[in-house]
């Protein structure tokens, strides 16, 4: 007979209340949940209950965060993701979403590149906040990621990338995500990866503007380990702007494809 307390198994004895668990935690908790509902120290516990005890505002330690992710994702998956480095080129509507998704999933390290600052016109789809307008996107996204998962190692590159240096900048990543806005840079990114980054997984994007059909966004394999996400036709243009939902669909295709590749899905039928 056992309880789950903060995702860890604790022996259960008949007649236990939350007070018994609080005393074990040193009493330093003010958020008490049982099976997802708010509770008090008097709440009676039953075999199999899921309990959460937390101090408001406490930042989980690296160990605690790791344990939470292990419990949610399974240890094999999490151990793999934790050892990986992912590069993201461009931190706009795609890149900011991809970075946050990967940080939530507990990727080990992120290498983030952008030269731009947060503008009011970005806020319709990019993950920045009103109070970050005018900040460098690298700085703003770093701050957001710290709040999501402070144990992801984040390195930022605050300059414009060029086809000639992409290979050198991202030579140590396991996967590279192309989230550029300009089509010329999208092509440059793919060429650079194909020429200079053998063995690095690559997930690019093309065709995600507007509010077209959800399922027209797809993930297409170009070469082994090299993919492109999008409908490949919907360009950002007057009358067809970039909108949070469809850009988000594409970004999450990219993030999931990275996870799939890192976890060995390349060998499965795509």
């Amino acid at each position: 007979m056992a309880l789950m307390v903060n995702e860890k198994e604790v022996p259960f004895h008949a007649g236990m209340t939350l007070a018994d668990l609080v005393s074990v935690q040193g009493g330093d908790v003010d958020i008490l949940l049982v099976n997802g509902y708010p509770a008090t120290v008097q709440t009676a516990l039953f075999d199999g209950d899921q309990c959460w005890l937390w101090r408001r505002g406490k930042v989980p330690s690296a160990d605690e965060m790791q344990h939470l992710l292990y419990a949610r994702h399974s240890p094999g998956v999490q151990a793999c993701l934790q050892g990986k480095v992912v590069g993201i080129m461009g931190l706009g509507g795609l890149g900011s979403v991809v970075a946050i998704a990967l940080a939530r999933m507990g990727i080990g390290s992120l290498l983030l590149a952008d030269y731009d600052v947060v503008e009011p016109t970005n806020l319709n789809r990019q993950q920045y906040f009103v109070d970050q307008i005018g900040q460098k996107k690298t700085t703003a996204l770093h701050d957001i990621l710290q709040r999501v998962n402070p144990h992801v190692s984040v390195t930022t590159i605050d300059r414009r990338l060029a086809e000639d240096d992409i290979g050198a900048v991202f030579k140590d990543v396991h996967a590279l995500v192309e989230c550029f806005d300009e089509p010329a840079m999208k092509a440059a990114g793919l060429r650079a990866a194909l020429h200079h980054l053998p063995g690095v997984f690559y997930v690019g994007a093309s065709g995600l503007a507007g509010y077209g059909e959800n399922n027209a966004i797809r993930t297409r394999r170009l070469y082994p380990g090299i993919y492109i996400v999008g409908d490949e036709v919907s360009a950002a243009a007057p009358g067809q702007g970039l909108m949070a939902a469809r850009v988000g669909i594409a970004a999450h295709h990219q993030a999931n494809q990275v996870v799939r590749l890192l976890l060995g899905a390349e060998n499965e039928a795509e």
């Binding site: 089509p183 093309s206 919907s234 850009v247």
Partner: protein
């Protein structure tokens, strides 16, 4: 002469360079990745590489937005 472009047979002028062929297709060369006979061309090769009869061309075209 004939080439295969993205799986479709196309009749093109003999010896045409990649950059001119992309132009004919109405494509901005900057936004296209070109694979010719299994090799990814560098940007510099777009202007120098002449298509040969029977060439197998794969064009990966990008549109803006991110």
């Amino acid at each position: 002469m004939r080439i295969l472009c993205n799986g479709e047979a196309r009749e093109i002028a003999s010896g045409i360079r990649v950059t001119d062929y992309l132009d004919q297709l109405g494509l901005d060369a900057l936004s296209v990745v070109v694979e010719c006979d299994g090799k990814i061309l560098t940007r510099e090769e777009y202007g120098s590489h002449a298509l040969q009869d029977g060439a197998v061309l794969e064009l990966i075209r990008f549109v803006g937005g991110g």
